[in-house]
Every structure is written in structure tokens, then in C-alpha cells.
């Protein structure tokens, strides 16, 4: 047997897809791990081999959470790698919009199913920009853009659906129901495994949430419009120059402004009077002006065609 033949055979086996792959993603506290545990146990009760792999060290701290669930296509099929290779997820299910976008390269481009909650969890990092008219660094992709790129895509506002149902915490169960529609397991088995994971007393609401998500796939719908995270101002901004006017004789070297400048662009000069040491870093936020007990600093925003403040 030649190397070429082995390689071809190996490729054939890999492409033969003995394994089904579901990638579940979100941010800390959204129930990613719960959903993957439900799915993994369900697969086990179906007599399938299954592996569920997660990395959760940073989960509680607002970081990215993801869980790979891989199971045999039929009883007896092995599951080897605990992780899903890039581009081989049969289903990508996201509890948060930008996370769904992030993990798209793991989805099978030709046949993958994309399910995402349109809920946005905007990280503080996305708002760390003091430039005039800055945009948040959050996903700009819209549901229709993404759904248009995948073979089969669903974007739903599970949070709102759960609230209407009467329990905002049931959003992940709704998504689980949506997931169930793209996997070939009996409904009763889904519900009985789900029951083992939900808090006592919430079985009924979770059952209704699950069915709501499952039926949602079948109902005619439009992809919900997402609330625009950006203000409705034109992208092109007039340049604004910032000028600090420091009245040296009024400064008493208390250095409050130096300590609290968000961009660390102030210091005291050799005569212990405040100075702007890094003009390029100054964003004109005016904290120094407001905090100076002696009115020694005035911040001027200078532009000929300055738009009106909100």
C-alpha cells in the first residue's frame, strides 16, 4: 500500500463523518455547560459514545466559554478527539450574538446549522475608547448577514421569548429546544434528560421553554432586528482639537488631576505645576477640569463645525 493510498483512505474515513459535532458557545454564566451536559447525557442514553470538552478557567470573569460535544453518528462509532476540528461542527449554538460570530469558522460551511441568541453582552473592553464619537468595538454583523452566509441559520431573541414565558432564566432551554430540532433524538428522551438538570420546581416552565424553542424552528418567521449598539450619528466626524488651558498661578500642586486622568497624560513640572505631558493621549474628557478644586484647568474642544451635544 502506498502512502498516497493510505492518505486517501484516511481522508475518506475522516470525511465519512463517524462523529457528530455540536459546538456550544457563550459568555460566563449563560448556561453553556448545562446545555452541553444535557446533550452529552442524552447521547449516552441513546447508546452513543460521547465526549464533552470545555475550558472554563476564566468563565466566571466575563470571558468566553465554549464546550465541544462530539458523539458517534450511530451506536458503535468511536469518538476520538475531544475537540471539534475547525470547520467540522454540524451545529453551532451561541447564547450570545458576538460569540456566535466568533466561532463561525468551526461550522461546516456546506451543511452546518447556526443557532444564535441575538442577545448582546457588550464587554467593558468594547467601550474603552475616549475619542470623539467613538464606536463600541462590538460585532457589527447583523443576523440577516450571518444567516445569509450559513447553510441553515436561526437567530432568535431567546431572552425576550423567555421573559414572555415568565422566566428570563429559561432562555438557554429555549435554545436547547431549537437545537433539538436539528438533531435526530426522540422528544421524550430530550425532556426526561432535561428534567435531571433543571432546578426543582422549574420543570414545567423549562418544558414549555424547550417546546417553544423546538417549535420556533418550524414557524414562519423573520430574523429579529437587533438593537443598534451605535448612536445614529454619521460615521464621518469633523476633527476636534483639544486644548488645555492651565492657569499656572491658580494651581496648588494637589495633583488630583494627575492621579485621576484616565489617560495618564498629566504630570507636575519641576515647579510642581500641572502640565499636559502627552497632548496626543488627551481625549478632552474634562475630568481634570471638573475635579480641580481651584479651577486651574479649562478644556476647550475646538472645531469650526462642531455638532450639537446630545
Amino acid at each position: 500500500m502506498s502512502i498516497e493510498t493510505i492518505a486517501a483512505e484516511a481522508d475518506a474515513v475522516t470525511a465519512d463523518a463517524l462523529t457528530r459535532n455540536v459546538l456550544i458557545v457563550g459568555v460566563g454564566g449563560q448556561g453553556v455547560i448545562m446545555i452541553s451536559k444535557v446533550l452529552a447525557l442524552l447521547c449516552q442514553t441513546q447508546g452513543l459514545q460521547v465526549k464533552q470538552s470545555e475550558v472554563h478557567g476564566m468563565a466566571k470573569r466575563g470571558g468566553v466559554v465554549f464546550s465541544h460535544v462530539r458523539f458517534g453518528a450511530k451506536a458503535g462509532d468511536p469518538v476520538w478527539s475531544p475537540t471539534i476540528p475547525m470547520g467540522e461542527a454540524d451545529v453551532l449554538i451561541a447564547m450570545e450574538w458576538a460569540e456566535g460570530v466568533r466561532w463561525l469558522p468551526f461550522l461546516r460551511a456546506d451543511t452546518g446549522v447556526f443557532i444564535a441568541d441575538t442577545q448582546q453582552v457588550i464587554p467593558p473592553f468594547a467601550c474603552r475608547n475616549r475619542d470623539f464619537f467613538a464606536e463600541p468595538a462590538y460585532a457589527t454583523e447583523t443576523p440577516s448577514e450571518i444567516v445569509g452566509q450559513v447553510s441553515d441559520g436561526f437567530a432568535l431573541d431567546a431572552g425576550r421569548m423567555a421573559e414572555e414565558l415568565g422566566n428570563a432564566r429559561a432562555a438557554n432551554t429555549i435554545l436547547l429546544g431549537t437545537l433539538s430540532a436539528s438533531l435526530d433524538f426522540p422528544l421524550d428522551d430530550w425532556l426526561s434528560v432535561l428534567n435531571q438538570f433543571v432546578p426543582k420546581g422549574t420543570e414545567e416552565i423549562n418544558r414549555r421553554a424547550f417546546l417553544l424553542g423546538r417549535d420556533w424552528v418550524e414557524t414562519p418567521r423573520e430574523n429579529p432586528a437587533m438593537p443598534a449598539p451605535t448612536p445614529a450619528l454619521p460615521i464621518a466626524r469633523p476633527g476636534i482639537d483639544v486644548r488645555l488651558e492651565i492657569t499656572r498661578s491658580w494651581c496648588k500642586s494637589c495633583d488630583i488631576c494627575v492621579k485621576l486622568c484616565p489617560e495618564r497624560c498629566l504630570d507636575l513640572d519641576d515647579q510642581q505645576i500641572v502640565r499636559l505631558k502627552d497632548p496626543d493621549a488627551c481625549t478632552g474628557c474634562r475630568i481634570c477640569e471638573w475635579l480641580c478644586p481651584d479651577f486651574a484647568i479649562a478644556v476647550h474642544h475646538e472645531t469650526p463645525e462642531r455638532p450639537h451635544s446630545a
Binding site: A7, V55, G57
Partner: protein, 607 residues
């Protein structure tokens, strides 16, 4: 010997898998394997990805297993060694860098050997998901002449752990059970068995074995060398070393967590799956290499097996195709085999029209560490950091930590900075409560002894937070949640000779600024202890939320310097900048943002 008669999962029927197997993570399987082996004493210091091993052992009956957190990994290993001396089976669990802390007893105990079986479960972190390096514990095993067992999935994690105790007693050696993050945190169905109760063994009253005097050690070292040879023969004969015959054009030697990736990518190839990289089953390796035309070694991290195989005079290749850094995946194996010309290169991946956003981990809303670092930022101090959640204060917006090395390093680093004599800023060491007890006390004594001008900020949030909320001697509770003696940090500091100690409210920014300024002005060693508990563990704290009175917000975004995840931009603008809003569900009412707000627009949500 060879009680390795546990049936492999593939030998069991699917019906059994449906009903009799339990979905366990690698860590839970290690705990289960230890319990089944009759482990009596288990100890650990928490560390991702190893933490759940001991937490899982604590779910078994306290009469069967004494499972308890130790103050650090060295103590954990010392405790396990003590139990082994007494003839009972003992386990110590730690992450890879924890083994560095425990290196001293491990390097000596390998000469002493064991009485009761002694197993160290060590979890490596290839890919550095949550660590400061990705060191390969197998190198340590060779350094210490301790056999290593490397399970490839959760079932093997259980089977190998159980077997490790037998090997330990049979060969009079500690055994290292090596997992990785991927194995520790992957859940799959595992067949479990009953617990065996090992016979009681008396203490071996033999100073020539138990006391490592130079004269004794000189005799024990040849024993260790001879033991290595016996273990090598064991692994050569054992079914643990698994030769899966396939096509002979090329063969792959692999181990532990690399094995499933190989099987995923090239299921039909000849594979020699080693259960142990050290000692290497040389004869089996030789026979395997003779049977194939070309030999590849596929191993995560260091070229450990590859180097040994090459030293045997075998023409093998490994790291020329497969990376030495980072975690393996099917993609990595595929790319390596393609590079070796043994596989077609992967097809060009699909081009998605997306721009992923950054979402770095952050300190929680209401985290009691935030205030301390705000004060340090204002103090413009030279700040040494330590290991814990608070390491996140090294990045924007707090950006208040200058160095971070390893557990307990902050205080010693600060002492050295002071001795260097070149620093013009105040020098401040910041260290968490659990880390301080782990390895912060000796350097504090050193600081007082050296009479240097430094300030130590102990961030006492009353839990080991980073690893998910474990108790320690400062919390007054033990692993099983029962009451235990509670260490007083102020007492410790005073008793080692620190005369300037202040306790300050983590949520009182004014007090923090003032206290840190006074501490920095103090001659000699000063200690500030900030005292608010973690908002997540052991109980989630939720106070009255705050909100922004939008009409008063002047969009200065001073509050955003806190890096609080509950504060983001609102859609309203003021003077060209975004006003802010507070997520009332995430906000727990710490009031730090209200304290820094110049326009006083952060107000309690009125009932």
C-alpha cells in the same frame, strides 16, 4: 501484579454503556480511581486544571477518605508522604507548576520509596489556558526517576489512577499520574467499580529507608536506578503499552492526550500507544520501529519520547513536523502529517466575512480587588503582582501591576527591588489571602528581617477565588464546608515583626487612597489588608444596584477606569462622548463608580 484487568470500554456492550457508565470528567475519574484503589488520605492546593480532583474526592464518605486542602503543594505532598509512611494509600493533586513548589519532597521521596501507595496527580496545561507556563511534567518525572502514567481519556484516567497505587507499592516508588487540561475537563461515560480496602500495613521501622542521611541516600540511589530498569521491563510487558497494528508504511509512537487526535486523523495507521513516557518501554519501541518503514513521534509539548527514541539509534521524526508549543488538535496532527508528506494538506478553509471582537476576562462587577488597584494607580507605585484573579489588574483600564512571576513571588520581588536601590516610586507588593498563606509568609519575614521600605497590600477576599472558590485556612472552613480554625492575617503580620498594619474597607476608595499613601510614606515594612469578601464565592453577593441619572452624566467616563463589566456606554452622548449606563442585574452595589463620579450622577435604584 498486573491487576490491569479492567475491561476497556470497547469490550463492554452498548447496553452497559447506556445504563452502567457514568459521565465523568477526567478529574472526576481520577478521584474515582483513587477512591476505588482505597485511598485514605488526599491533599492538594487548588490550581486549574487540577482543582476538581480533590473537590470530587470530598464527595466520598469522610470515613473512607480524608480529603483536605493543604496550604501549598509542598505541604500537600508532605502530608501524602506522611500517610504513605503509615502504610495507607495517599494522593496529592496539583497543577504542573504546583509540582515545582512540591519539588523538594518529591526529589527525596523517590529515594525513600513508599509504604502505602503514593500517587501524585499532576495536571499540565498545554496551550496555557490558565497558567503562567506550559512546562512538561514528563521531564520532571525523569529528573525525579518517578514513573509517569498518561491516560488518554476519562476511562483510562480512572483505570490508570487505580493501577498507579498498585505500581507504587509493587515497585516501592511514588507514581505521577499526568493529565492535561483537555483530559481533566472532558466528560465522557466511564465504567466504575467498587472500592477495595487495602490491608493495613504497619509503619516500616527502617531508618536506612526512611531517613535520607547522606549514607542512606548513597545506598538508595542505586536502588532507584535499578527500579527504573524494572519499571521499564514492566511497561514492556504490560498491555498498557498498546501496539495497534495497521499499515506498515509508517508508524506513529504517541502517548496520553495526543493518542485520540492521532486516531481521529489516521485511524488505520500502525500506532504504538505508550501509557508511560518514562521509563520508556524500549524493547517494545524497538520492535515497533523495526516493523514499520518510517517512524513518527506525536507528543504534545516537549520532544521527550522522540529524544529517547533517537538516543536508541532509531531514525524517528517528531518535532520537525509537530509543534513544541501549544495544545494539539486534530488540525495540528493533520498539518504535521501533511508536512511530512503522509497526508494531503487540508483544504483551504472557508472564508467567513466576520470580525471577531475582543472579550478578555475581567474582574467581576463589585470585585473587592478593584479599589485597591485604583489606589495604586493613583499612587503611581511600582507594583509587584501575584497569582490570582487580581492579576487581571495588570491590563487596561487598571493597568496597575508591573510584574507577576509565580505563587508568592510578589513580596520577595518587592524586597529585591528595594535592595536594588534604584526605584524612585513607592514599592508595593500585592498578594491575595490564599496566595499569602501559600507562600507569602516567608518572604514577609524576609522583608522585615532585611528592613526594606516596602508596602504589602494583602487583598483578603476570604476565598481562593481564581480556581472557583475554595476554602483555605483564612476562611474558617474546610474542604467539606465544616468549621475550622481561622487564621488572622493581622496577627500573622504583627507576629513576624511588621509594626505598621492597617485594615481597610475595600469599597472605601478615600480610605484606600489615604491608607496606601501613609503606608508608602512609612519607613520599613508596612502592611495594608483590604477586607471585603469575593462577590462570587462562597456566596454570590448582591446588594442594591446603582443606576446612572442620564441627565447629569457628563460622559467623562471616569467610572470606566474601574473596568467594571456592569458599566458600558449608553446610546446618549454628551459633548462628543458616550454617556454610561449600569446593568442593574450585574451591579451588586459596591459604589466605587459613585465614588469616582465627578458629577454625582450614580444613584441607588430607588425602590
Amino acid at each position: 501484579m498486573n491487576k490491569m484487568e479492567a475491561v476497556r470500554p470497547d469490550d463492554r456492550s452498548e447496553d452497559q454503556a447506556r445504563t452502567q457508565a457514568h459521565p465523568l470528567t477526567g478529574n472526576e475519574a481520577i478521584a474515582r480511581g483513587a477512591w476505588e484503589a482505597g485511598v485514605k488520605v488526599a491533599s492538594a492546593y487548588p490550581g486549574t486544571p487540577s482543582t476538581e480532583i480533590l473537590e470530587s474526592l470530598a464527595t466520598y464518605d469522610a470515613d473512607e477518605v480524608n480529603a483536605e486542602w493543604s496550604t501549598n503543594e509542598k505541604v500537600a505532598v508532605d502530608v501524602a508522604i506522611g500517610a504513605s509512611f503509615q502504610g495507607v494509600r495517599a494522593l496529592a493533586a496539583m497543577k504542573h507548576v504546583g509540582l515545582n513548589v512540591a519539588a523538594d519532597p518529591v526529589m527525596s521521596q523517590t529515594y525513600v520509596g513508599v509504604n502505602g501507595g503514593l500517587v501524585l496527580a499532576v495536571c499540565d496545561d498545554p496551550g496555557i489556558h490558565s497558567s503562567q507556563n506550559e512546562q512538561d511534567t514528563r521531564l520532571f518525572c525523569r529528573l525525579a526517576n518517578i514513573p509517569v502514567l498518561e491516560p488518554s481519556d476519562a476511562q483510562e484516567a480512572l483505570d490508570f489512577t487505580r493501577l498507579a497505587f498498585d505500581i507504587s507499592e509493587e515497585f516501592d516508588t511514588p507514581v505521577i499520574l499526568r493529565a492535561t487540561t483537555r483530559l481533566s475537563h472532558t466528560r465522557s461515560p466511564v465504567f466504575t467499580g467498587p472500592r477495595i480496602t487495602p490491608e493495613d500495613k504497619p509503619f516500616i521501622d527502617d531508618p536506612n529507608k526512611n531517613v535520607v542521611l547522606p549514607a542512606v541516600a548513597r545506598v538508595r540511589h542505586p536502588f532507584v536506578v535499578e527500579r527504573e530498569a524494572r519499571l521499564q521491563r514492566y511497561f514492556e510487558a504490560s498491555p498498557l503499552t498498546r501496539w495497534e497494528k495497521g499499515d506498515t508504511t509508517y508508524g506513529i509512537i504517541t502517548n496520553g492526550t495526543s493518542y485520540p487526535y492521532v486516531k481521529e486523523v489516521v485511524p488505520g495507521v500502525s500506532v504504538l500507544k505508550l501509557a508511560s513516557s518514562y521509563p520508556l518501554a524500549r524493547e517494545t519501541v524497538q520492535a515497533f520501529c523495526d516493523s514499520v518503514e518510517k517512524v513518527l513521534v506525536v507528543e504534545e509539548l516537549e520532544p521527550f519520547i522522540e529524544t529517547e527514541v533517537k538516543a536508541m539509534g532509531i531514525k524517528a521524526e517528531g518535532k520537525v513536523f509537530f509543534p513544541r508549543c501549544g495544545e494539539f488538535s486534530p488540525e495540528v496532527i493533520r498539518a504535521g502529517l501533511a508536512k511530512a508528506g503522509l497526508m494531503a494538506a487540508a483544504e483551504e478553509s472557508h472564508e467567513w466575512n466576520i470580525k471577531p471582537i475582543l472579550r478578555p476576562p475581567v474582574l467581576c462587577a463589585g470585585c473587592p480587588h478593584t479599589g485597591g488597584y485604583m489606589a495604586l494607580r493613583a499612587l503611581d507605585a511600582r507594583v509587584t503582582g501575584d497569582i490570582g484573579c487580581y492579576t487581571l489588574a495588570a491590563v487596561e483600564p487598571l493597568r496597575a501591576i508591573d510584574t507577576n512571576v509565580c505563587m508568592g513571588a510578589s513580596i520577595g520581588n518587592a524586597v529585591g527591588m528595594a535592595k536594588a536601590g534604584t526605584e524612585t516610586k513607592p514599592i508595593v507588593a500585592t498578594i491575595g489571602d490564599s496566595t499569602f498563606l501559600h507562600s507569602g509568609i516567608p518572604p514577609l519575614i524576609d522583608a522585615v528581617y532585611s528592613d526594606v521600605d516596602i508596602t504589602v497590600l494583602i487583598l483578603d477576599n476570604k476565598i481562593t477565588a481564581m480556581t472557583g472558590g475554595q476554602h483555605h485556612p483564612g476562611t474558617g472552613k474546610n474542604l467539606r464546608g465544616q468549621d475550622a480554625h481561622q487564621v488572622d492575617f493581622e496577627d500573622i503580620c504583627r507576629s513576624v515583626g511588621v509594626t505598621w498594619v492597617r485594615v481597610v474597607d475595600s469599597y472605601d476608595l478615600g480610605a484606600l487612597y489615604r491608607t496606601m499613601r501613609e503606608a508608602a510614606a512609612n519607613k520599613g515594612v508596612s502592611v495594608v489588608i483590604s477586607n471585603r469578601p469575593c462577590v462570587l464565592d462562597p456566596v454570590k453577593i448582591k446588594g442594591p444596584a446603582l443606576r446612572v441619572a442620564a441627565k447629569d452624566c457628563v460622559a467623562c467616563q471616569a467610572c470606566m477606569n474601574l473596568g467594571c463589566p456592569a458599566i458600558t456606554w449608553s446610546d446618549e452622548m454628551y459633548d462628543g462622548h458616550h454617556k454610561v449606563k449600569i446593568d442593574e442585574v450585574a451591579c451588586m452595589g459596591c459604589t466605587l463608580c459613585a465614588q469616582v463620579c465627578p458629577s454625582d450622577c450614580v444613584q441607588p435604584v430607588s425602590p
